[in-house]
Amino acid sequence: MRFLNHLTLGQYVPTGSVVHKTDPRAKILATLSILTGVFLADQWQVFALWAAFLTIVVVMSRLPLSMVLRTARPVIFLVVFTAVIHLLFSQGTPIFRFGILKVTEEGLRMAFKMGSRLFLLVIFAGTLTLTTSPTELADGLEHLLSPLKPLGFPAHEMAMMMTIAIRFIPTLLDETDRIMKAQLARGADLDSGGIIKRLRAFIPVLVPLFVIVFQRAEELAIAMESRNYKGGAGRTRMNPLVWRSRDSVAFLTVLVVTVFLVFLNSRMSLV
């Protein structure tokens, strides 16, 4: 489980908080609303307000802030990279120069904007997965997408695929780790050389991994069939989703916050 120590995205941490208890459909819709709001934001004050809102949600979820922040770890490189690119290569009024590189005022603004936007997007999405179990998430998505079923959209199948994918992430990471160690023990060199050499060195890891994945998929399909799985028709749920008034309140609150912040952002952009 070495890899798992670095992986929080997609891992549910139950605390029994009010955020956890909110209907997953409300949380998915609220997250979509927040993501739209964060995408439209470009004023630092608005980013600060989104960050404050995030803090409130995290406090209500009773999750340690550090744990929530850790969900951004896999994309921290992307955030920094985007910020640096914008910082160094934007046109505009230069503030200072190092040789051919120059930092402009617009660049600084863009770097902050893109960095904050990406960071907030990932953290809000991470908060959703930390407070919602994979099954709830899949159930929620299935319900939200079910109006598309008459058009032939496989809502149940998609939700089931998602559940299984999430279930197998730790298993496959563990398997990769094991294969890597086995190949290292046999003298494989996975860590040195340029990127091409490293990618080529990874082939002996990928081939057995693919074989294992297919074997597992077949065995799992047999086990599911043996447990009477016949697709979505006629299935019941241990915890059927029930939309309560507090879910409406939660969703509407987020919607109001989003509309307000988008409005505020557009007003500030005009000034």
Binding site: P14, S133, T163, M224, R227, N228, K230, T236, M238
Partner: protein
Amino acid sequence: MTEKVIVSFENVSYTYPGSGKFALKGINLEVIEGEWLAVLGANGSGKSTLARHFNALLVPTQGACLVGGSDTRTVEGQRFAREMAAIVFQNPENQIVAAIVEEDVAFGPENLGVPPEEIKRRVERALKETGLTDLAGKPTYALSGGQKQRLAVAGAIAMQPPCLVLDEATSMLDPSGRQELQQVLWRLHSEGMTLVSITHRMEEILRCDRCVVLNGGSIVWEGSPLVLFRDEDQRLGQWGLEIPPLVAVWKGLVESGIISGEAPPVLEEMVSALCP
């Protein structure tokens, strides 16, 4: 009281598609309600193929398999067989569907269309039976091998099948995991569940009521484990099986005249026989 036959194989043969060889050949076998049947055999003897006939994952190419009196070659029979017999497979990792323990136990009953309240009751009971109550909310990847296999058993018994088939369910477990699972099985058996253990580990059949030996896809022997252990005609080796070390020691003592009598099946009984 008449014995009720729960599963019956009538001259069953099975050939995998594309293979000209019989994986099972002329199997005649009846499983009686409430018994613990062991199916023994070396690798490639057809044990797993037989296991998959119990709940119609495979249907005979010749002959008939009746589960609860219903022929698995019919659609109705297949549906019924899935409800009558649940299978626990060799690798626990590949049977777990959900990321959370209790959600995985609920998977089977959900597929059967059981109402939510009843699912909760069944999940609670299955977790209790398998000693997993404290782990109900835990992620499934965090369980040990033994716990994962107990979870697979919990998932199977939550469907409340009258018959549970274990296809080499202990082969990937360490000794303590095996011990945990055996204890769960003893308890289920004492509560009246019909068990079919498919294995090549002879020490696991000590408590079974009856065993059959498969070799080359056919049943070559049938009787009680104690009689099998006597191995009077020295055929266990030919079938790719060997008697447990404990029983071998006992046999040696009997043959050298130090003690007399049949081999007691468990260590405690053996110790008390040796040191009265």
